[in-house]
C-alpha cells in the first residue's frame, strides 16, 4: 500500500490539520509503512464473520434524570481564547470549501 503526497494532503484537509509541503513526502512514507504493516490482519481468514469487539458494559447505562448543581469550578469564559457576551468569538466562516474534497 503506497500513500501519495496528494492523499496525505487530502487526509490532512479532512482532519482540519495544516501540514507543510516539506513534510508531505516523509508523512506519506511513514503512513505507507504503517499501512503495509497493519495489512497483515487481512491474512487472518478466521476473523471473517466474527462479531466485532465492543468493550465495556453490554448496554449503555443512563444516570437518573435529576437536576444537579453546575459541576464546573468556573465557566467557559475563563477558558475561551476570545469571548463576548456569552459567546465564543471566532473569525468569520469564510466560503464553503467542499469543491476540492
Amino acid at each position: 500500500m503506497s500513500v501519495t503526497n496528494d492523499e496525505v494532503r487530502h487526509i490532512a484537509r479532512l482532519a482540519e490539520l495544516d501540514v507543510s509541503e516539506e513534510t508531505l513526502p516523509e508523512l506519506a512514507a511513514q503512513m505507507s509503512r504503517i499501512l503495509d504493516y497493519v495489512a497483515q490482519i487481512n491474512s487472518v481468514a478466521a476473523s471473517e464473520g466474527v462479531k466485532p469487539f465492543v468493550p465495556g458494559p453490554d448496554a449503555a447505562r443512563f444516570r437518573p434524570d435529576e437536576l444537579k448543581p453546575w459541576p464546573m469550578a468556573f465557566g467557559p469564559e475563563r477558558l475561551a481564547p476570545a469571548w463576548r457576551d456569552g459567546f465564543f468569538l471566532v473569525p468569520k466562516l469564510g466560503q464553503f470549501e467542499q469543491s476540492d474534497l
Binding site: V38, V50, P81, F88
Partner: protein, 455 residues
Amino acid sequence: MSDPSDALASAKAAADRLVKVKRLNACLTPTTELRKSLLAQAQLAHPSGVLYGMPVAVKDVICTLEFTTTCASKILEGYHSPYEATAVSRLKAAGALVAGKTNCDEFAMGSSTEHSAYGRTLHPFDKTRVPGGSSGGSAALVAAGAVPAALGSETGGSVRQPASLCGVVGIKPTYGRVSRYGLVAFGSSLDQIGVLGRSVHDAARVLSVISGRDPRDSTCEDRDSLRLPTVPESLQGFVIGIPKEYFPADLDPAVRRACDRVIRLFKEQGAAVREVSLPHTPYAVATYYIIAPAEASSNLARYDGARFGPRFNGAADVGALYRTTRGMGFGTEVRRRILLGTYVLSAGYYDAYYRKAQQMRALIAQDFRNAFDRGVDLLFTPTTPTPAFKAGEKLSDPVAMYLSDIFTVTAISLPIGRVKGLPIGGQFIGQAFLEDEMIEAAYALERVVPSSEEV
C-alpha cells in the same frame, strides 16, 4: 507513609524530594507552585482517610483543579480544567495529596516520554536512556523515590512498560474498573487509568481507592471498589500459564533469564506452571495501530482553538483557524496518528481497517478467555522484550515502540531483576475484574524475587 501523624510534614518532605529530582524533567508543575499547593492541601486533607498524607503524582492527561492539565501538548498549554477526574476526587477524599502533574508522551501517544512538548523525561538510573512511556514521568518519580505512588494511564501498555523500565510496580486495571471521567480521551475503547507504585501494596491501595462505580462514566462497571487481598503465605493452589508467544527467539537473553528464575520461584512456592498458547498475539500490534489512531483522530477533533486552549492567531476564517491551531499545536507523533486515524476511518476504508481490527480484537480477547477457561488462573510474561533503551534509538521507526500485549484484561508489572543496573519487569495477566487474585500472586512473588539482583 500509610498513616503519618503530620500531613504537613509529609507535604514538606514530598516537596523537598520533588525539587531534588527536578533534573529528570518528570514533573511538569513548577516547584514553587507545587510546594505551596502541597502545604495547602495538607491543611485540608482528611485525617481519617486511608491515604492520609500520602503524596500521589498525577499524569498530565488526568484533570486536576490544583494544577494545569496540558497532556504534554502545546495545544493545551496553560489549560486549567474546570473540573477534576473522579480518580483525583477519590484520592483527595481519602486524604492523599496531589503531588504535581507528571510528564508523558503528548496525549499519551508514545512509549518513551520523548514525545512531550515540554522535553523528554530522563531515566532515573541512566540519563542517556528513556523511562518508557507514555506514563514515563509517573514511573520516573516513583523510581527516584520522590513519591510512593502516581497515577498513569494506559491505552496500549503505557503504565506497565514504564513501570518495567524504571523498576517499579504498575497496575493496569480491567477496562471499566476505574472511572475515566476526567481522563483526557485518546482511544476511548482502550483507555484506562492505572497506578504506579514503589511496591505492590502502595499501587494496590491507591487502586482500591480510585476504583468503583461512577455515574459520570457510563463505561465504568457497576461494581464496588476493589478489596485488597491479604498477603498469601505462598503460591500454593495457583495455576500459572506461560504463553509461548511472549518468549520469541529474539527475546533479550537477560529478560529470558529473569523470567526463567521467576518460573522456578513459582514452582518452589507451590504453584502449578503450564505452557499455554495465545495464537493471535502476532496481530495485536497491527490491531492496536488501527484502533487507537482511529479513535484518537475522532477524540482530538475537539482541539480547534475555538473554545479553549491557545489560539494561533492570524487566520482569515474559522476553517483556517482550526487548521493553523491544530497544525501548530500538535506535535509530530500526534499529527501522524491523527492522519492515520482519519485515513482508516475515511469513506471506503472503514470496513477494511476499523471493523476488521475490531474483529481481530475479538479473536485476541477470545485467546485469553480460552487460556483461562482451561483452568489457568493467571498468565506470566516479560513486560517488555528489553530493558530501557537509549533516547532517540527508536524515534525514526514508527512501529518500533509498541508493545504486543495490549488486549490483556488486567495486568500488574513488577521488577524481577536487573541487567547492568537496569531493571527488568515481569507481568501477571489476570482475568477481567479479578485484580484481587492477581495482586495476591504479585504480593507472593514480590516477597521472594531478588528484584535488585543482576540476572
